[in-house]
Every structure is written in structure tokens, then in C-alpha cells.
């Protein structure tokens, strides 16, 4: 099976190539088969590879090299894929969840005239994402990294005739590129000091070269973190993700929930040896995660667009993963990455099913009472939201989030504070996720849905429902990858409080939004309340700030210098020459007496000057 590893990313790439080259001329059935089939086949191969890998009593990571990419001045990255428990877990998620979403899309996108283009981009994305997680060196990882960014851009702007989608797509690309550029600088720094970008040797060298707390690894980690916050939509680069919801819903599920946005988490986990050398940088990771998760949860409370609520919840949940990485709970972070992929894909696909049946309605206040009319989306949302909120013991989200919070508690002096922040976020999470459920699926019907979608959309939902529940009992096979986390007590006050918070949150949501026994309108309608709501709704005015500080000045500079100020110098020189030419030209009158007179005047002048000096 070892030899099959390289086929995994190649399969969806072939799917992309076939559809790109055929330029939309293939029949839709073929497109479906190639589009979903290539990912499905990749998933089967991943399963085979995984079974073989995990059957070993002591699994050994290995590398498969296709060829040397380049060999210049000691820089020798290869097209090499590295398999260990971490990349295996990521591959499971990408191909598994990816296949379900592709299957779902065969129906969801069926009536779209650019059906083949959609699957071409989706396949290219899966391929790039697989390269990202399999890369054994940071340059190849960067190829996958930029590749998924490109596909994200292409799919956000998939419906390109609407200029707003194009704007959202460009925003996503440019904002993440800011992070990518920081990451590239990190790679240069690491290469300049370690002489290689091959991850495993590099980590070993780093440990030999640097002491814990040295400046260089700290800067390198912060630059890598820059890349991670861009791709994973964390503070301060999270502003692109909500707008990215302009893309088709399966795209949001696959790229902007389950896989690509967790690439930053993967990157930090992959380079954890480096972060262990830079405690300051690691602490920054934790704080970025904590602040982002609370900010995004507050915003999610105020949103009205079903997809934007989910988008902010994604930002918030990735914040938990960053928190986990920051406190050294590596496995817990990856565990939450996996369970989040299940329940968030489920929620997005469920939202897609609702939107599909409500003729592209996104506003939750125009929905309501869909519980009985759309049972499959309802149960999807119920299970997905319970997992998102971390409903104790029966959902996957509980196990992963609980692990993170308990590890945070155990993290030194800062621990209780980090825990408290995370627990507060968990309370908000439970409230906003059940706000969504109660408003959309309970109460009176505001928009009449058309018939529920067919099996191709229902099957993935049901499967993901199952995964969102049982995913919590999976054991991610990353024990050999990460250093052992500090042991935590499952039991005791902290454990029970952590477990009770989601229930409390759901209760609050129930009382406010369904039973209406708590009236929050006096609070939200007060002057301060309105201000805060607006502030949160705009996601803490970050878009406004960036627009003011970055976008407008850049546009302004570009606009005033459209004609290239440097050119004024040259054109000015030319004009001066022309002016002098005309000036002297006027003396050329053709009249003899004028010439004689000026000659005489000149003579007088010369004599006068000469006499002065003599």
C-alpha cells in the first residue's frame, strides 16, 4: 500500500484535468461520476492505506518520493509525501468528508449551467489539500497551501456574473495572501538558518541548533502563525471568511468549514517541535485562539444570515483549536479539527438543504417551523448544533472541546483564565447555535418550503449525523506524532462545570428564543445594547477598520498616481526643451535689421564685460 500514497492526490487532479480540458462538453452524468468518483476512489485508497498503517503494532511513518522538484544551491525540496498518524487523520477527513460533499453536490449543483466547472474546481481543491497535508517539506506544503487558496478564490467567485461574489473572492485571496507572505518569509528564515525545508530533518535540526526561547525560532514561529491565521481565519485576518459564504454551500462545507480553514491548525501541529522552542509564540497562538473564539461567538449571536452564523461559528471553533495548540494540547486540537469537520460539514450541508428547499432564502427570520416539513435537515441541524455546542456525553463535539478546556485549565498559572475564556465561549456557542435551531425549525412557518431534496443530498446528511455523534469515540492516531499532553482529571468540579455549560446555554436559548420567558428586547433596544449589537454584528468593526486603514489609502495612492508621477520628470524635460526651442525660435525672424541690431547689442555687451574685467 505504501506505493499507493502518491495516487491519492493524483486521482482528484486527474478529475480536474479531464474536466478542465473537456471544457464543459462532457455529459452531466460523466461529470458526476468523474467528480465524485475520483474523490471516492481516493477515499477508498486512503482507507486501505490507513488500515495497513494502523494494523502495525508500532506504526512507522514513511516518505514516498516521486522526484526531486529542484536542486539549487543546497535547496533540495522534493515531490515527497510523508505519512504518519497526523497526515493520515487529515487524509481521512479530506477524502471522507470530501466525498460526501461531492456526492451531495451532484444534486445540489445539478441545475447549474457550469456544473463541470464546479467539479473541476472542487477536484482541484481536494488534490491541493491532500498535497498540503502529505507534503514532507514546507515548499511542497506551500504549493498545496496556495493551491487551496486559489480553489477557494475560484469557488467563492464561482457565480462570477455577480460582481459581489467576485469581490468576496478577491478579498479572501488577498487577505489570506497577506498571511501566506508572512509564512513565506518564515520559510526563508528557516532555510537561511537550517539549510533545509524538509520538515522532519528540520525539526530535528531546530532542536539541536536552538535553545528554548531563542529569538530566531520565535520569529519563525510568529511568521508561520501569520500564515496560519490567514488560512484559518483567525485574528487579525479572519475578515475574509464570512464574505466567503458567497460561494455555493457545498463549497462552504468543504473548504470553509471542514478542510481548508483548518490548514493553519495542521501547519502549527506539523511544526510543533518548532513552537515548543518558542514558548512566547505558542502563548500567542493560545491568545489568538481565545480572543478570536470569543469575538466570533459574539458576532454569531447577532447575525441573521444562516450561512454567516455558521461562518462565525467556524472562526470561533478554529479558535478552540488554536487554544488547544497554544496550551500544548496537540492531540486535542487535531481531535477537535476532526469532530468539527464532521458536525460543521453536517451543519453547512443541512443549511444547504434548507436553502435549496426555500429557494435561496438565507435570512433565518424568514424561516421557521421547518421541523416537520424538512425532517432530514431538522435532525441534521439538531445533531450538528448539539455537537457544536458540545452537548455532554452523546455528541462528538463534547469530547473534543471538553478535552481542550480541561487541558487549558491544567496549563500553568494562566490555565484557569484560559479555561474561563473558553468556557464563556462555549456558553455563547450553545446559545447562538440553538438560537438558530429554534428560530429556523420551530415556531410558525414563514416561508413554505418546496419538496425536500433527494437521496444524493440526504445520504451524506445521514452519514454525517452518525459521524457527528460517534466521532467522539474515535481515537485520532497521533500519539506517536506529538509529545504527551499533561494528564487531566475526567471528574471533579471543573469537569462537571465544563460539561454543564452547554446545557445551560441551550436552556438560555430555549427560554429566550422558543419559550420567550426571558425578554431580551429591553436590553438589545437600549442605546448601549443597540450599539453593542451593531458593533458585534459588524464583527467588531474590523472590516471598517481595514477599509479605512488599508484599502482606501491603497486605492487613493493608486488613483492619484494613475499617470505615473515619475513620468512628469521626463515629460517636463521634454516640455522644457520645447519651450526653449520656441523661445529661441522667436528670435529667428528672418529680418536682416533685427539680426544686425542684436549682433551689435551683443558686441556692446561683450565689450562691456571685457572692460569690466580688464
Amino acid at each position: 500500500m505504501n506505493d499507493l500514497l502518491w495516487i491519492v492526490p493524483i486521482l482528484p487532479l486527474l478529475g480536474f484535468l479531464i474536466q478542465y480540458v473537456s471544457a464543459g462538453k462532457l455529459p452531466k452524468l460523466w461529470v458526476s461520476c468523474i467528480g465524485a468518483g475520483s474523490v471516492g476512489l481516493a477515499a477508498i485508497i486512503v482507507a486501505l492505506i490507513g488500515i495497513e498503517y494502523l494494523q502495525q503494532t508500532d506504526p512507522v511513518a514513511y516518505t514516498v518520493t516521486l522526484y526531486t522538484w529542484m536542486d539549487v544551491g543546497g535547496f533540495k525540496p522534493g515531490f515527497s509525501f510523508y505519512l504518519d498518524g497526523l497526515s493520515l487523520t487529515m487524509m481521512f477527513v479530506i477524502t471522507g468528508v470530501g466525498f460526501l460533499i461531492h456526492l451531495y453536490s451532484t444534486l445540489f449543483m445539478f441545475d447549474d449551467e457550469s456544473y463541470a466547472r464546479f467539479f473541476a474546481y472542487m477536484n482541484l481543491f481536494v488534490s491541493a489539500m491532500l498535497v498540503l497535508v502529505l507534503a514532507d517539506n514546507l515548499l511542497l506544503l506551500y504549493l498545496g497551501w496556495e493551491g487551496v487558496g486559489l480553489c477557494s478564490y475560484l469557488l467563492i467567485g464561482f457565480w462570477h456574473t455577480d460582481a459581489a461574489n467576485g469581490l468576496a473572492a478577491r478579498k479572501a485571496f488577498v487577505v489570506t495572501r497577506v498571511g501566506d507572505t508572512a509564512m513565506a518569509l518564515g520559510l526563508f528564515l528557516l532555510f537561511a538558518h537550517l539549510g533545509t525545508l524538509d520538515i522532519q530533518p528540520m525539526m530535528k535540526l531546530a532542536g539541536e541548533t536552538w535553545q528554548t526561547g531563542d529569538t530566531i525560532p520565535t520569529i519563525a514561529c510568529l511568521l508561520i502563525l501569520g500564515g496560519a491565521v490567514g488560512k484559518s481565519a483567525q485574528l487579525p485576518l479572519q475578515t475574509w471568511l464570512p464574505d466567503a459564504m458567497a460561494g455555493p454551500t457545498p463549497v462552504s462545507a468543504l473548504i470553509h468549514a471542514a478542510t481548508m480553514v483548518t490548514a493553519g491548525v495542521y501547519l502549527i501541529a506539523r511544526t510543533h517541535d518548532l513552537f515548543l522552542l518558542a514558548p512566547a509564540a505558542q502563548m500567542t497562538v493560545a491568545l489568538v485562539g481565545l480572543i478570536t473564539l470569543i469575538m466570533a461567538a459574539c458576532t454569531a449571536l447577532t447575525q441573521t444570515d444562516i450561512k454567516r452564523i455558521l461562518a462565525y461559528s467556524t472562526i470561533s471553533q478554529i479558535g478552540y483549536m488554536f487554544l488547544a495548540l497554544g496550551v500544548g494540547a496537540w492531540s486535542a486540537g487535531i481531535f477537535h479539527l476532526m469532530t468539527h469537520a464532521f458536525f460543521k460539514a453536517l451543519l453547512f450541508l443541512g443549511a444547504g438543504a434548507v436553502i435549496y428547499s426555500l429557494h435561496h432564502e438565507h435570512d433565518i427570520f424568514k424561516m421557521g417551523g421547518l421541523r416537520t416539513k424538512l425532517p432530514v435537515p431538522f435532525w441534521s441541524f439538531l445533531i450538528g448544533s448539539a455537537a457544536l455546542a458540545g452537548f455532554p456525553f452523546i455528541t462528538s463535539g463534547f469530547y473534543s472541546k471538553d478535552e481542550i478546556l480541561l487541558q487549558a485549565w491544567a496549563y500553568g498559572d494562566m490555565g484557569p483564565w484560559l479555561w474561563a475564556g473558553g468556557a464563556f465561549g462555549a456558553l455563547l456557542t450553545a446559545i447562538y447555535s440553538f438560537r438558530l435551531v429554534f428560530i429556523v425549525f420551530f415556531g410558525e412557518t414563514r416561508t413554505e418550503p418546496s419538496a425536500p431534496a433527494g437521496w444524493a443530498m440526504a445520504v451524506p446528511l445521514v452519514v454525517l449525523c452518525g459521524l457527528a455523534i460517534v466521532g467522539g469515540w474515535f481515537h485520532v492516531p497521533v500519539d506517536a506524532v506529538f509529545p504527551e499532553a499533561s494528564p487531566v482529571r475526567h471528574g471533579g468540579t471543573v469537569f462537571w462545570v465544563t460539561a454543564a455549560i452547554p446545557v445551560l446555554g441551550i436552556l438560555i436559548a430555549w427560554m429566550i428564543f422558543l419559550r420567550k420567558s426571558i425578554d431580551v428586547t429591553p436590553l438589545t433596544d437600549s442605546a448601549v445594547g443597540r450599539l453593542v449589537t451593531r458593533f458585534w454584528f459588524s464583527h467588531w468593526a474590523m472590516d471598517w477598520l481595514y477599509d479605512l486603514v488599508l484599502v482606501r489609502p491603497y486605492r487613493w495612492i493608486a488613483a492619484i498616481n494613475k499617470d505615473d508621477a515619475v513620468d512628469y520628470v521626463y515629460n517636463g524635460t521634454a516640455s522644457l526643451a520645447q519651450f526653449l526651442h520656441r523661445l529661441i525660435g522667436t528670435s529667428q525672424t528672418g529680418q536682416l535689421r533685427w539680426y544686425a541690431a542684436t549682433m551689435a547689442a551683443g558686441l556692446v555687451l561683450v565689450i562691456a564685460i571685457l572692460m569690466e574685467f580688464i
Binding site: T161, R177, F191, V566
Partner: protein, 503 residues
């Protein structure tokens, strides 16, 4: 002899094309196509050559594949001294390839005096090939001028609405910088004469010229500015947007694809090796100009509403990377610069062809009048998208390899320069995606009944796409060809340890 044959084929083909106009107006383009194709057939054999010691002067490393000398004006030490090493070989190949592309892409564009048009195309190509192989400074200057006059005529006669201004500007910039080059060459030759008593224009002899630091410094400036104008480097770039915008498609392709590369080639071949100490002295300034070009070009590109002008300013930005890479002067950065030269040649030439195709169909280059073209021309949209993302440095395509290696190499030399140059990766995304949005995306502005790319155009484009993918995924052949050249260059500049320990 093969090198002289190569240049002669292009010169003679040009003359025949001009004459052929009198017989049949369709013949000139066929004459061009066939002569370039014949020249192209000579190329594969060159790739099989191995560097051979016997031909190599003792002063340089063993990197020359061919060296050939015929006496010309012995009294002044002028000879037809031509040579080919890996760098020249790649540049000549790029020239012939893009020449072929330029002729095919303007197949049906030119009605006015087609024979003279082809003559100018061919003579420009001949001049450029000459520049890449000439190793006698007098001969080099001869070719340098030969490539410029026909290009001036191409813009002045077959250009767009503002061709008079643009061609005159092009002419003045290139002639003044050419004059500077001539004066510098003569100064170098005379200085060498004063030291050795030998009158020679030979590159190899002049490499050994023992100049006083002052003379070297000032003569170096002459070479530097002449080549940076061509590159074009900030602040000498302003001829380029006008020339590019007004030139007919084939001329834009040649300008962007290969003429700009002669500037970079000149810096690598002449400016730095001839005056290594002086080059070290100005290296930070040169890199600063490079960074200025990267950022300034990108901001201006974003400001444009003329598609061709946008691409022209993007060239300023991309060639800024080349300038940085050259003056960082290490293996990574130089390999990156050469790669960037080739990849930029392909991607920008393609974008100019797309601009030409758009103008031919829509009779405008103004992007505010475009939008939503994907609906009527999906094939063209898909292909444009490819070159747009190549241009913004997507990994997997050649441009990325170039820019990444340049930055990686420069990081070892000068971190602030690298950081600011890296901002170019962001600004490139801004203007490139903006161009895509304004042309092919958005709501269609009008019902358009335009023809999508046909088979001829697609096949040309696919060739260039395959080239960029190849360079991006398997750049090693290019590195291997350039490597011995770099080894030779290090040997020439190793007397200047102050530059870099890491050479």
C-alpha cells in the same frame, strides 16, 4: 558557425519577407514563419553541446558551449566574436520561441505593408539573438542598436492611436541609454588600452582590464543605467507602458517577452563581471531600485483601466524581482532571476496576446467597457485565468519558482529588501485578480456576439501553458543549463569577498 547561421537566417528571412510583399501579400508571414522555424530547428542540437575546454579562454570558467571568432576590424581590435553558454542558449531559445508565437499570433492582424512589418519583426529578433551571443563589445553594441530601430518602426507605423508619442518616447529612452552604453564601452576600451597598450573590444580581454576603482565605478554606472532602462527598472520605466500599450500585439510580445530580458542579460553578463567591486558598492541601491519597481509597478498596475497598460506595469513589477535577484548575486537568487526571465517572458507575452485578442474583438482596451466576458468567451476566460494566476506567482508554475528563489536568495543578503519585495506577492494578487474581475467576471455589460478563441489561438496558448507548468513542476533542466554559467560568474567575481561569503 551555427550561431552566425542562426542570426543570418533571421536577417535574410526579414529581407526576403520584405521583397515577397511585392509578389503576394500573404507570403511575407509565411516567409517569416518558415525562417523562424528553420532557426528553431537549429536549436535542439545546441542543447546537446557540452562545455569544452579547448575553446575556453583561461580567464573564465569552463562554461562556454561554443566560442567563435572571425577578424573584422583588426586595427581597432574588433572581431566577430560570438559565443554561447547556458544562459545565452536559454535566452536565444526563448527568443526564437516567442518569435514564432509573435508571428502566429499576429497572423491576421496586419494589413498595412505586411512585408515591411515582417521585416521589422525578423530584424528585431535577429538583433536580440545577436545581443545574446555577441562577446565583442562593438558587435554587441551593433546588435543592441539593430534590435531597437525596427522595434521603433513597429510601434511608429503599426501602433495604436497614440503611436507617435509612444514610439518617440521609446526611441529617445533607448537611444539616450544606447549612447550612454556606447560611451561607456569606449571608455572601458580606452582605459584598458591605457593600461595594457592593447586595443581590444573582446569581452574576455576586458574582463582582465585592471581599472582603477574610480574609472571602474563611473564606467559601471554607464553600463548599469543603459541596461536598467531596458529592464526596465524604476525610475527609468516610463517608456514601457506607452510603448507596450501602443505597440501592435506582435511587438508587445517581443518587447515584454525578450527585449526586456536583454537588460537583465546585460547586467548579468557585463555590468557585474566587468566591474565586480563597483557592482558590490551599488548592490544595495540596485536592490532598492528593484524593490521600488516591484511595489511601484504593482500599485500603478492596479490603477490602470487599460488592460494592456496594466500588464505593462505588471512587467515593471516582475522585472524588479529580476533586478533584486541579480544584485543579491548568489546561486539561489540568480537561478531565480533567470527562471523569472523565462517565465515572465511566457506569461506576459500570453497576456499581451490576450489583450490583442480582446482589442481585435471589442475594439477597445478599456476595462471599464468590459466585464462578464466569460459568458461569451469561456475558453478565452479559462486561459486568461491561467496566465493571471501564473502572473501572481502561483506555486506549480514557473513564475513562482523564479520569485521564490529570488526572495530566498536575497533573504541571505538583505532581509529588509526581501521583506519589502515580498509585499509584491500581495500587491500582485491585488492587480491581477482585479484585471480578471474587470474583464471576464462580473455582469456582462452588453450582449456580445464575439468569437471565442479558435484552434490557432488555443494551440499557441496551450504551448505557453505547458511551458509554464513544466517550468513550475520540473525546473531542474533549466537550473542544470544555467549552473555552469553561474560557476563561471562566481569565478569572475570571487575577488570580491566583501559581497557574500555564501557564493
Amino acid at each position: 558557425m551555427i550561431l552566425i547561421a542562426l542570426v543570418s537566417i533571421l536577417f535574410i528571412g526579414g529581407i526576403i519577407a520584405w521583397i515577397a510583399e511585392g509578389w503576394n501579400r500573404d507570403w511575407p508571414r509565411w516567409v517569416s514563419l518558415i525562417s523562424i522555424a528553420v532557426a528553431a530547428l537549429l536549436l535542439p542540437s545546441l542543447f546537446l553541446l557540452e562545455p569544452h575546454l579547448s575553446a575556453t579562454p583561461a580567464t573564465t570558467a569552463n562554461s562556454w558551449l561554443i566560442l567563435h571568432s572571425i577578424p573584422w576590424i583588426p586595427k581597432f581590435g574588433i572581431a566577430v566574436l560570438v559565443g554561447l553558454d547556458g544562459l545565452s542558449l536559454l535566452m536565444v531559445t526563448l527568443t526564437i520561441f516567442l518569435g514564432l508565437i509573435a508571428v502566429v499570433s499576429s497572423w491576421s492582424e496586419i494589413d498595412h505593408r505586411p512585408g515591411f512589418f515582417q521585416f521589422n519583426i525578423m530584424w528585431t529578433l535577429a538583433g536580440v539573438v545577436g545581443v545574446f551571443i555577441a562577446l565583442d563589445m562593438f558587435l554587441f553594441f551593433f546588435f543592441w542598436e539593430v534590435m531597437l530601430i525596427p522595434m521603433y518602426l513597429l510601434i511608429a507605423i503599426w501602433g495604436h492611436e497614440n503611436r507617435g508619442y509612444a514610439s518617440m518616447k521609446f526611441f529617445l529612452f533607448t537611444q539616450i541609454s544606447g549612447l550612454l552604453l556606447l560611451v561607456s564601452i569606449l571608455a572601458l576600451v580606452f582605459a584598458n588600452y591605457g593600461n595594457t597598450g592593447e586595443f581590444t573590444f573582446s569581452y574576455f580581454a576586458l574582463l582582465d582590464a585592471n581599472l582603477s576603482p574610480d574609472v571602474a565605478y563611473w564606467v559601471m554606472w554607464g553600463f548599469f543605467i543603459a541596461f536598467v532602462v531596458k529592464l526596465p527598472g524604476f525610475p527609468f520605466h516610463t517608456w514601457l507602458p506607452d510603448a507596450h500599450t501602443q505597440a501592435p500585439t506582435a511587438a508587445s510580445v517581443l518587447l515584454a517577452g525578450i527585449l526586456l530580458k536583454t537588460g537583465a542579460y546585460g547586467l548579468i553578463r557585463f555590468t557585474v563581471p566587468l566591474f565586480p567591486e563597483a557592482a558590490v558598492e551599488i548592490a544595495p541601491l540596485a536592490m532598492l531600485l528593484g524593490v521600488a519597481g516591484v511595489i511601484y509597478g504593482a500599485i500603478l498596475a492596479f490603477a490602470q483601466s487599460d488592460f494592456k497598460r496594466l500588464v505593462a506595469y505588471s512587467s515593471v513589477s516582475h522585472m524588479g524581482f529580476v533586478l533584486i535577484g541579480i544584485y543579491a548575486w548568489n546561486q539561489l537568487s540568480l537561478q531565480g532571476s533567470v527562471m523569472q526571465m523565462i517565465a515572465h517572458g511566457l506569461s506576459t507575452a500570453a497576456l499581451f496576446m490576450i489583450a490583442g485578442a480582446l482589442q481585435q474583438r471589442l475594439h477597445t482596451r478599456d476595462m471599464t467597457a468590459m466585464g462578464g466576458l466569460w459568458v461569451s468567451m469561456p475558453r478565452m476566460g479559462g486561459i486568461t485565468l491561467f496566465f493571471i494566476i501564473a502572473s501572481l506567482g502561483m506555486p506549480g508554475l514557473g513564475n513562482f519558482v523564479g520569485e521564490f528563489l529570488i526572495l530566498m536568495g536575497t533573504f541571505k543578503v538583505n532581509i529588509p529588501i526581501t521583506v519589502f519585495a515580498a509585499l509584491g506577492l500581495i500587491t500582485a494578487a491585488v492587480y491581477a485578480l482585479y484585471a480578471m474581475q474587470q474583464t471576464f467576471q462580473g455582469a456582462p455589460t452588453q450582449e456580445l456576439d464575439v468569437e471565442d478563441f479558435g484552434a490557432r489561438e488555443i494551440s499557441v496558448m496551450v504551448l505557453m501553458m505547458v511551458g509554464l507548468v513544466f517550468l513550475g513542476l520540473y525546473p531542474q533542466p533549466v537550473f542544470d543549463i544555467v549552473d555552469p554559467v553561474l560557476a563561471g560568474l562566481y569565478q569572475l567575481t570571487q575577488s570580491t569577498p566583501s559581497w557574500l561569503g555564501s557564493l
